[in-house]
């Protein structure tokens, strides 16, 4: 059986689901809406008799780590800034190691980066804080200009780009942006900061599918189990249950 192999966690997922739903559902014959799901799982279970194709790629390059939107400077600045917001420590990796800058780059290249599902019709007016985001900037414009501004500000103040100044200096620059302590020509500094912080946390904790949270290390630090099929067996338990996390990749059923 393929699910004897340690690196085939999707099999584990199906097996567990069947086990739990089996206990939960008992012997009832399933009609209606879930017939399809359980049927599909059963079919796949039969199929598992054929072993999965052996892993042929031998190098461990991650071909997903390349740039879709940022230039090199913006990428490196994003990486350094994100690392200050979520630094490596004895609990585990920081933003850099988790691939957060790749995550942000990929998000900026996506429909989210161009605000394609937001209301962007003019006119734009100055808003009260209760009325939310009312800037003309698309997210990708705000982030790219903001990263350039981090560099520009560091260059003026410390005569070095952001990536080359000391961590404490980087924190001071970020704090100045956060609290809008600076006048920038092109960019609303605190808006940029808030969005960048948000993106950083998303990159730490989103499914690894999106380029961050590398190897689910963000989840592991928090003991977050990712996405399991069922918790019916654990929900009443008094003690804390640690589970090896699973990602969406583990649920993919191809062919």
């Amino acid at each position: 059986m393929a699910n004897d192999k340690p690196n085939q966690p999707q099999d584990e997922s199906r097996r567990r689901f069947l086990k739990y739903s089996g206990t939960a559902i008992g012997g009832v014959v399933l009609g209606g809406v879930i017939g399809g799901l359980v049927g599909a799982n059963l079919k796949d279970k039969d199929k598992e008799e054929t072993p999965a194709a052996p892993q042929t790629a031998t190098d461990n390059k991650d071909y997903n780590q390349a740039l879709m939107f940022f230039n090199q400077d913006q990428f490196l600045t994003a990486e350094a800034a994100a690392e200050r917001l979520f630094p490596k420590d004895d609990l585990g990796p920081g933003a850099k190691e988790l691939g957060v800058a790749f995550f942000i780059d990929h998000q900026m290249a996506s429909a989210f980066g161009t605000n394609s599902r937001d209301y962007m019709q003019p006119p734009y007016y100055k808003a009260e804080a209760t009325q939310g985001y009312q800037l003309v900037f698309k997210r990708r414009e705000l982030i790219a200009l903001g990263l350039d501004a981090l560099n520009g500000y560091s260059n003026t103040k410390y005569k070095k780009p952001f990536v080359e100044i000391a961590p404490e200096e980087q924190d001071a620059v970020l704090t100045a942006f956060e609290s809008n302590d600076i006048e920038l020509k092109d960019v609303p500094a605190s808006n940029f900061f808030a969005m960048f912080l948000n993106l950083t946390l998303e990159g730490v904790y989103a499914d690894p599918l999106y380029g961050g949270n590398k190897n689910m290390a963000g989840w592991k630090m928090r003991n977050f189990p990712g996405n399991q099929m069922s918790y019916t067996e654990y929900i009443e338990k008094e003690e804390f249950v640690k589970l090896e996390p699973m990602s969406l990749h583990d649920h993919l059923e191809l062919g």
Partner: protein, 573 residues
């Protein structure tokens, strides 16, 4: 020119819970129904990869596309309303099943008090108790009248709840069809603390099934797996009651129901007395159609219900200056913000696990279940502990005064990820003369029609309610054996940025008086007898509860009204 289609008996605008229930009831009775839905079709297969916090919770995969349509907002009439450009305060449904796909499934019948709030307040405290500009009124229907329709919804959806319910909530003629959800340790701590204080906790009635259930229509569904991806997600198991796995397949099986997706209704066609049909745009092609019908039912959630009446010039728009007219009045919401967080240094809880409707609650401080004589507010809140599944992007628990980023922030969020239980109040929202919906003078949707403009703020009533309820949450949390507790007891202005709830109410309210309400107690429009409007838009105020139980009951009532109307015509009251 719009293409004119053959006439049908009934056309429904919107295929969420309301549209789905009415479609099923009418088609089962042999009446032909066309259901028009602006979004796409859906089924449970779409959710095999749904456990994705970024896509569904942070990027709002299942919600209305705001680039096409949104709402303009201002706190007061003195401000300029601006469009809600990105999501925040509430999340609008779109596509088959509407918000009934990504809801939690917490199920609460409104209190008997709610339906007669004006009379009962006057009776107990006198007229003076009601502050100036608070426009509470009786609903034109009583709890007892609505009771059989609650039962219908419960049997259809398979609501899971305790057999015995506390006596301070509405009596049930028929018990819940399935038993309560499982109890997590947090729920036990909450219930024990509440009991110790003399309150009456119960497991939240749930539309996430606790066990296999076959409903009276023969639809069988699997039990909830407590998967933790429920609120903002669709349920791949069909365990969460959702129109797509309950009422819509039943309607389809009758052969009397035709569904048209990707079709956005832009107008009600009428002659001032009766509607003759609706106009809609098929969004992929941009082609326009008119669908003539004997009965037009608006089931598009309150923003659409109000907007179609106003843009089609049906009914009289509400004017807050003169208090004349009724379309758009009594917009209300939900007053959240009262809560206490309990931090545990000595233990961790399985908080990633949970279900949308998993939790326990009390109603000892909801409705008029406590004496308001010396209090500066009316109504109250359902106080609860819920375990809906906490996910790491959107949940960053830290004690007050923790920095918002950096090493300390990282440490605190990781340390506290599974150590905080929150006791929260879901507060009622009383209507106000100056809280209303109308058409925005400036901003337009993708079809060139004005956006709905919302004018809404929190008032002293709301701030007082939060202050009082917060103390009660603290008292309970303090009994829950935590290392320390932190109270949150103040709200300021209403802010459209943070998510609060998708419990928007009012705008086409029901009542006994045609002058101050839009529909009668069959949800039939006073000004056009063949138009029925149903949803939380019918609520004259919002209770300290989630709305869908009452919405569902009203939908069954509407279906009955439409059948009566098709039989004999005329006003039903």
């Amino acid at each position: 020119m719009a293409t004119k289609l053959p006439k049908v008996p009934v056309v429904i605008v919107g295929m969420g819970w309301v549209g789905g229930i009415i479609a099923a009831e009418l088609s089962k009775a042999g009446i032909s129904v066309v259901g028009i839905e602006r979004g796409k079709s859906r089924d449970t297969q779409d959710y095999y990869h749904v456990h994705d916090e970024l896509r569904y919770a942070a990027r709002y995969e299942l919600m209305q596309d705001l680039s096409k349509e949104t709402v303009a907002f201002r706190n007061t009439m003195k401000m300029r309303a601006l469009p809600m450009r990105t999501y925040g305060s509430f999340l609008l449904g779109d596509g088959l099943g509407g918000a009934g796909v990504h809801w939690n499934g917490q199920y609460y019948r409104f209190l008997p008090y709610d339906f007669e709030i004006y009379s009962k307040t006057v009776e107990r405290y006198g007229k003076k108790k009601i502050p100036e500009n608070m426009t509470i009124r009786d609903w034109g229907i009583t709890y007892e009248q609505l009771e059989p329709y609650f039962v219908k919804y419960e049997q259809m959806a398979g609501i899971s709840g305790e057999k015995e319910i506390p006596s301070n909530i509405g009596a049930m003629s028929t018990p819940f069809p399935t038993g309560p959800m499982k109890k997590s340790p947090g729920m036990k701590l909450f219930e024990n603390a509440a009991k110790k204080l003399g309150y009456h906790p119960y497991v939240i009635p749930s539309a996430n099934l606790s066990e296999v259930y076959k409903n009276p229509d023969g639809v069988e569904r699997a039990p909830c797996q407590y998967c933790g991806y429920c609120e903002r997600f669709g349920c791949e198991y069909g365990a969460k009651a959702d129109p797509v796995v309950t009422v819509l397949p039943v309607a389809k099986n009758t052969g009397k129901f035709e569904l048209r997706t990707h079709s956005n209704v832009t107008k009600i066609i009428h002659d001032g007395k009766k509607a003759t049909g609706v106009t809609y745009v098929h969004t992929p092609t941009g082609e326009e159609y008119t669908q003539p019908a004997d009965v037009v039912i608006l089931a598009g959630y309150l923003f659409t219900n109000v907007k179609l009446l106003l843009t089609s010039k049906l009914g009289e728009p509400y004017d807050p200056q003169t208090e004349k007219g009724s379309v758009g009045r009594n917009y209300a919401y939900q007053v959240n913000g009262a809560s206490t967080s309990a931090f545990y240094e000595d233990r961790e809880f399985n908080l990633a696990m949970g279900a949308g409707a998993l939790g326990s609650s009390i109603d000892d401080f909801n409705g008029d279940n406590f004496d308001h004589s010396d209090l500066n507010f009316l109504h109250g809140a359902n106080i609860r502990f819920t375990q809906t599944g906490l996910r790491p992007i959107q949940y960053q628990p830290v004690p007050a005064d923790t920095p918002k980023w950096g090493a300390e922030f990282k440490k605190a969020t990781i340390h506290n990820a599974n150590r905080v239980l929150s006791v929260t109040g879901q507060g009622a929202s009383m209507p106000n003369r100056y809280h209303y919906l109308d058409l925005d003078p400036e901003y337009k949707d993708a079809f060139g029609m004005p956006l709905i403009r919302m004018t809404f703020d929190f008032e002293d009533q709301d701030r007082e309610l939060v202050k009082f309820i917060a103390q009660k949450t603290k008292a309970i949390a303090d009994e829950m054996g935590a290392t320390k507790t932190e109270i949150h007891d103040s709200i300021k202005q209403y802010n459209i940025v943070p998510y609060q709830s998708t419990h928007n109410t009012g705008g086409t309210i029901m009542g006994a008086d045609p002058k101050t309400s839009v529909v009668n107690n069959y949800l039939q429009m006073w000004d056009a007898e063949n138009v029925f409007i149903c949803g939380a838009s019918n609520f004259p105020h919002n209770s300290g509860y989630n709305p869908t139980s009452t919405v569902g009951a009203l939908a069954y009532r509407t279906a009955e009204g439409v059948q009566k109307y098709l039989d004999k015509g005329g006003s039903l009251v």
